[in-house]
């Protein structure tokens, strides 16, 4: 193989008569053509290539990977349809049982106040006697809701409030 491979790359296979004689099967006597030992003989590639290819087979077979059968084939249309049909009956079951879904409305009202709650609280605070304004801020000083008297810089106050609380709460 080591001898033939460079010849294959070159596209021409040549051997000296001495090499051919020494490797021939059945063996040829050394005396036969000894005077032509240095003569180069070209062997047609069409005789060599089949043997070369057979000898240069990959040593190891391709590895087989075990694929989990539960993983759907995303490229198979039939597989996707089967999955969607299997998944489709599930939602109607949930809809068919309205009794357990009764508590569900609870989250939606709680979600709505999260947007309006700060404004509602500011409104309630401003109705308390003696209160002239109210402001709700995030910890970073961004105002969420405000109802302040004219002339009060709400952004400045909002930025000031967290620091004021942290200093006075100690």
């Amino acid at each position: 193989m080591a001898v033939i491979e460079p010849m294959m790359k070159r596209g021409k296979a040549t051997f000296t008569w001495k090499d051919l004689r020494s490797t021939a099967q059945p063996s040829i006597a050394d005396a036969v053509g000894a005077s032509q030992d240095a003569t180069e003989l070209e062997i047609p590639l069409k005789f060599i290539i089949p043997h070369f290819m057979a000898a240069s087979k990959p040593a190891s077979e391709q590895k087989q990977v075990d694929v989990d059968t539960s993983i759907p084939d995303v490229f198979s249309k039939e597989d996707i349809e089967a999955k969607t049909q299997a998944a489709a009956p599930a939602p109607p079951k949930e809809e068919a049982s309205p009794a357990p879904t009764a508590p569900e409305p609870a989250p939606s009202p709680s979600a709505a106040p999260s947007a309006t709650a700060p404004n509602e609280i500011v409104e309630r605070l401003s109705q308390i006697p003696g209160v002239t304004g109210a402001l709700i801020t995030m910890g970073d000083g961004l105002s969420m809701a405000k109802k302040l008297p004219a002339g009060v810089d709400s952004d400045a106050l909002a930025g000031f409030v967290p620091g004021l609380y942290n200093r006075t709460a100690q």
Binding site: P113, S114, A117, P118, E120, I121, R124, L125, I128, P129, G130, V131, T132, G133, A134, L135, I136, T137, M138, G139, M144, L148, P149, G151, V152, L157, A158, V161, P162, L164, Y165, T168, A169
Partner: protein, 45 residues
């Protein structure tokens, strides 16, 4: 130049802060403020 003066009361409600402005000399009903602050803490997360 005229300036308005307010006093500020700050409370913490969850991750938020509530600032209430009052006029000097006017007492704020602490119980009312506390009730609203408690409500705010429950509603604002």
């Amino acid at each position: 130049m005229e300036t308005d003066t307010y006093f500020v009361t700050v409370r913490k409600a969850g991750k938020c802060f509530i600032a209430v402005l009052g006029t000097p000399g006017t007492a704020l009903p602490e119980s009312d403020l506390a009730a609203v602050a408690a409500d705010a803490e429950a509603k604002i997360q």
